[in-house]
Amino acid sequence: MKIGLYPGCSLEGSSREYAESLRAIAPHLGLELEEIEGWNCCGASSAHQLDHTLSLALPARILAQAEKQKFPELLVPCAACYNRLASTKKDLANDASTRDKVTDLINMPYTGVTSVQNILEVLNLVLTPDVQKKIPAAFPHKVVCYYGCLLVRPASVVHAEKMEDPMQMDDLMKRIGATPLDWGMKTECCGASLSITRTDIVGKLCGNILEDATMRGAEAIIVACPMCHSNLDMRRKEIERVTGKKFSIPIVYITQAIGMALGLDAKSLGLHRHFVEVSVHGKNKVQQNVSSPSMAAVS
């Protein structure tokens, strides 16, 4: 399956292990990623706070660029970028005058033909029974799946089936042999962009998440959002200061968990970049450092 890729800024910076692990697992899942050319920042959590038109124009330019490259589908692995792109697409579809204003600003044609896909939707398609057969019970760990906000809300934008209790990530974890546990913080907010300005609030919210996951006996928290990852992984000192507790549970991107199940080595998955040591491992150690042609052919 060939698909356009909008990596977004975090995947080139503080969350580059998310990009590394995605690119590492892609050939094993028969996924061919074509990066969008000349892409810009989507505006993330700041543009819409200060300037409504800017918050539409930045994602619109990305969508127009995807159209120019004739991508029927665009994979947006960052949950925040995905949310901005999907929500802009909806706003432009519903309001012709806004669409005219925005296309005039970006000076590019825009029709809205490209479908915006998040990581869970794409992995659901490519983690097929054929791939599963090759990696039976390869990630035998108890995990909790943390969706956060941007993959499930607002429902009108992201088409989440069960907003308060989503299951797509849990289902993917089962396919690689993990045991996803039931827990209470699946869709609670991590504090997002207050990370720098109100680190104490982030410490409190992330503390609640780590505490519940630990109490349930999870060995790792699985995530699909760079913002959730950096708050839960890099803010441990602040979390400990606010809660008065120490937590050792690692935060693992869904692409890293799948990579470990595929037997890929830690470095290619960027596991060494985490602040909190990743103490869970895949069972298929033998396949280290290989991208076998037989697996790459699976589609």
Partner: protein, 188 residues
């Protein structure tokens, strides 16, 4: 100390309806938004209280809303709107309120760091086309003079290869958008 603020001859509630199509009068004060809001315990007015103030449609309560700390603490997590029985899109209301708070220079003093962060973020996009994290933090520190913040985290990030010291320039991809917005402001 109420000052009259002009919303095109309307109340702030009317202005919100005009800008976003959302009627705050739909809210019947069940309080579900305030109960689920992850930031409400740190806010000066809980989300449902903000909506009530808007419903009153008088200059004094409008000013309270625009100078509140709450509008800047909102995380846009959408928990409120997901659970609202009347489907009030509160995150969209917040976007309008923040814009009006800036426009009328009523930003809460405690929120100046948060506003500075967003301004630095947009500056970084304007200058580099993409978010360059080192540039963002430097811009933010200059604005706020919080030079010692996160001095512990940054070296570890650098060691782990999570920071790029040298930016890549993609400014040309966004320069048209920013110049277009500026021209529009000048015409307005």
């Amino acid at each position: 100390m109420s000052v009259s603020i002009d919303f095109g001859g309307d109340s702030l509630a009317g202005w919100i309806q005009h800008k976003s199509g959302i009627s705050v009068q739909r809210c019947y004060q069940c309080g579900k938004c305030s109960a689920g809001c992850p930031a409400s315990s740190d806010m000066d007015f809980a989300p449902s209280v903000l909506l009530r103030l808007l419903q009153l449609q008088n200059a004094e309560s409008d000013q309270k809303v625009l100078s509140s700390y709450s509008i800047w603490l909102c995380l846009t997590c959408h928990t409120c709107s997901a659970r609202c029985p009347m489907e009030v899109d509160l995150p969209k209301v917040m976007d309008v309120l923040r814009a009006e708070s800036l426009r009328h220079k009523l930003v809460n003093k405690r929120a100046k760091d948060i506003v500075a962060f967003h301004k630095s973020f947009i500056d970084t996009i304007r200058n580099f086309g993409r978010l360059w994290e080192v540039g963002l933090v430097a811009d933010y520190k200059l604005r706020t003079r919080h030079f010692w913040q996160d001095v512990v985290v940054a070296p570890v990030m650098l060691k782990k290869g999570k920071l790029s010291l040298i930016p890549l320039f993609h400014k040309k991809f966004v320069s048209r958008i920013f110049s277009g917005l500026r021209n529009r402001e000048e015409r307005a």
